[in-house]
């Protein structure tokens, strides 16, 4: 028996290698599908909505495997520009416009919206409750300089970070200067991580309603809403397909991306948006935008979206449309004569 002992090591290694090979083979067998890579934002991903959409989509298209890369909008767009995604699902109209204009994206479709809120500790040391967003930030800055408040910033070039920077600019402040101040904590991470830090430090931060409710109800944070939703804090999510006409992006799975965008804009999925979170939070985390814009069901919000998120008066400029299939794009003036002229082109 003794001579067997020296083979134990070899036998063990052989078993481990065999196990790894079998596992890899089993994993590979499930990956025969084509992969559609969607580069998206942490706020959408962390709420769990995308998991539901993923399951629905794959039930409809069993041959496509949807993979989400969850990053801040800034990096999500950079990922797509580098050819590592087939489409993007983001929330920063200025950056989206640049993405289209630089020749990386086509067929932009607005799919959902919600609002950013400013959240903070219950005792509200900066006294911002009820202020408008810009004045609230300025009050937090003042209280911060006096050592009474902390502001936690995403600091990751995400869509939320862009919104924060826009608000600072509106208050004649520059976030790139503020980031070196003691009361300004630049997190450099996703939405939940930022909320958790603000919660721990009893600080203030800005966050989309979906992420706030998700973390508040789960008990991860107990911060409260200080500044409510309004026109200045509108948050609009759009889907854009990577442009296969761009030589650097010729390899993207454009057809699959268009299937997914059509899917997002479909009545069925817009209904999912409207329902998602209602049971747990008493309100949807993301509001469907397609019907709202098409039928003008809420003229106030529709007007805000058009002001904020339309590019040259439309969801997608006509020169940035390519093999649109069933997808249609809305524009501000939908009077019949213009439609007719458009269809002649």
């Amino acid at each position: 028996m003794k001579h067997l002992k020296k083979y134990y090591g070899i036998i063990l290694v052989a078993i481990i290698i065999a196990a790894i090979v079998i596992a890899a083979w089993a994993l590979n067998a499930t990956q025969q599908k084509e992969i559609l890579t969607v580069s998206t934002t942490t706020s959408l991903y962390e709420t769990g909505l995308l998991d539901i959409l993923d399951a629905e989509f794959e039930a409809k298209y069993p041959n496509i495997n949807v993979t989400f890369i969850s990053q801040g909008t800034g990096l999500a767009i950079k990922t797509a520009m580098g050819g590592d995604a087939d489409m993007i699902l983001v929330h920063d109209p200025d950056r989206e416009q640049a993405f289209l204009n630089e020749g990386y994206g086509v067929n932009r479709k607005i799919v959902a919206y919600n609002f950013f809120v400013i959240v903070g500790p219950e005792d509200d040391p900066a006294g911002v409750k009820g202020l408008d967003p810009v004045n609230a930030l300025l009050a937090i800055k003042e209280a911060g300089e006096a050592g009474n408040a902390i502001w936690v910033s995403r600091g990751d070039d995400s869509g939320t970070h862009s919104m924060e920077k826009r608000l600072w600019i509106a208050g004649d402040e520059d976030a790139s200067v503020l980031r070196d101040e003691k009361w300004y904590w630049e997190r450099g991470a996703g939405m939940t991580a930022t909320l958790v830090m603000a919660n721990e430090k009893r600080g203030y931060t800005i966050c989309d309603m979906g992420s706030y409710l998700n973390n508040y109800v789960s008990g991860a944070i107990d911060l409260e809403i200080m500044v409510e939703a309004g026109q200045e804090t509108l948050n609009v999510y759009s889907a854009i397909a990577c442009d296969p006409q761009n030589p650097d992006l010729a390899h993207v799975k454009f057809d699959h991306a268009m299937k997914f965008i059509n899917f997002l804009a479909s009545d069925e999925v817009q209904e999912i948006f409207a329902d998602f979170g209602v049971d747990n939070f008493g309100q949807p985390l993301f509001n469907p935008a397609v019907k709202l814009l098409k039928e003008n069901t809420d003229p106030t919000v529709a007007g805000w979206i058009k002001d904020f998120a339309y590019i040259d008066g439309t969801e997608c400029p006509s020169d940035k449309r390519y093999e649109t299939g069933n997808l249609s794009f809305l524009k501000i003036a939908t009077i019949p004569t213009i439609i007719r002229r458009e269809s002649l082109n």
């Binding site: 990053q71 800034g74 600091g155 990751d156 070039d157 450099g188 991470a189 991580a193 919660n199 430090k201």
Partner: protein
């Protein structure tokens, strides 16, 4: 794509040699945080090592084995445990340590304690047995005897300290999870490299990477030199 890497490297060296304040503030914070961690770890690891190396007691083998087992503790697990302990609603929440440089130092100190203990212990054990007996009989107090032994094992102790510092300096899990990578506050070399990618600042990350590797290599060279002598 390749040109991006080359550009990144060129810009990185520009950042390095222009003594860019953002880069160097992160470097100094890293040195400070991990230096403090090493100092704290020495505070308790050296006495533990001396006791384990010189005394015999029941369960000693088990204690030694435990320290050796913890040599390989994954930093993310340690980070997770510390996060839960230090968070506001956790048992040590009242100290408000989470997301402070001190919290990173404490975490790294715990991380490297097994390294310091194990290495120092072997160094002590390798000191000539007779010398240990001599020190024990001649030394008027336990402390003096221990100090004499440590002095004899100085090479091994230095080795332990440098190895510990290196591990602390290059770890990511603890610094990310309980430091939080806050700009100008808890952003250290490893977290900056890992998470600044999120800002897609390639040159900045490369510059920090070069410094991190440089310092770790320098430390390892010293380590190797000590090991040989």
């Amino acid at each position: 794509m390749t040109s991006e890497i080359i550009d990144g490297v060129i810009q990185a060296f520009h950042l390095l040699f222009s003594l860019d304040p953002t880069v160097y503030s992160i470097v100094f914070r890293s040195l400070y945080v991990s230096g403090l961690a090493t100092a704290m770890a020495m505070l308790w690891s050296l006495p533990i090592a001396v006791i384990l190396g010189m005394k015999n007691f029941r369960g000693k083998r088990f204690v030694k084995a435990s320290f050796n087992a913890f040599l390989g503790v994954p930093t993310v697990v340690l980070g997770l445990v510390l996060f839960l302990l230090l968070k506001r609603s956790g048992p040590f929440g009242m100290f408000e340590l989470l997301f402070t440089p001190l919290a990173i130092s404490i975490g790294q100190a715990i991380l490297i304690t097994p390294i310091l203990v194990s290495f120092t212990m072997s160094a002590i054990e390798s000191v000539d047995t007779e010398l240990r007996e001599l020190a024990r009989t001649l030394g008027s107090t336990e402390i003096q005897a221990s100090t004499a032994i440590l002095r004899e094992a100085a090479g091994g102790v230095t080795l332990a300290v440098i190895a510990g510092f290196n591990r602390a300096f290059a770890e990511l899990g603890v610094a990310t999870m309980i430091g939080g990578n806050v700009h100008g506050r808890t952003r250290v070399l490893t977290t900056a490299i890992a998470l600044e990618i999120n800002r897609a600042d390639i040159a900045f990350s490369i510059a920090l990477g070069v410094i991190l590797v440089g310092i770790v290599f320098a430390m390892s060279l010293i380590l190797n030199y000590l090991r040989r002598s």
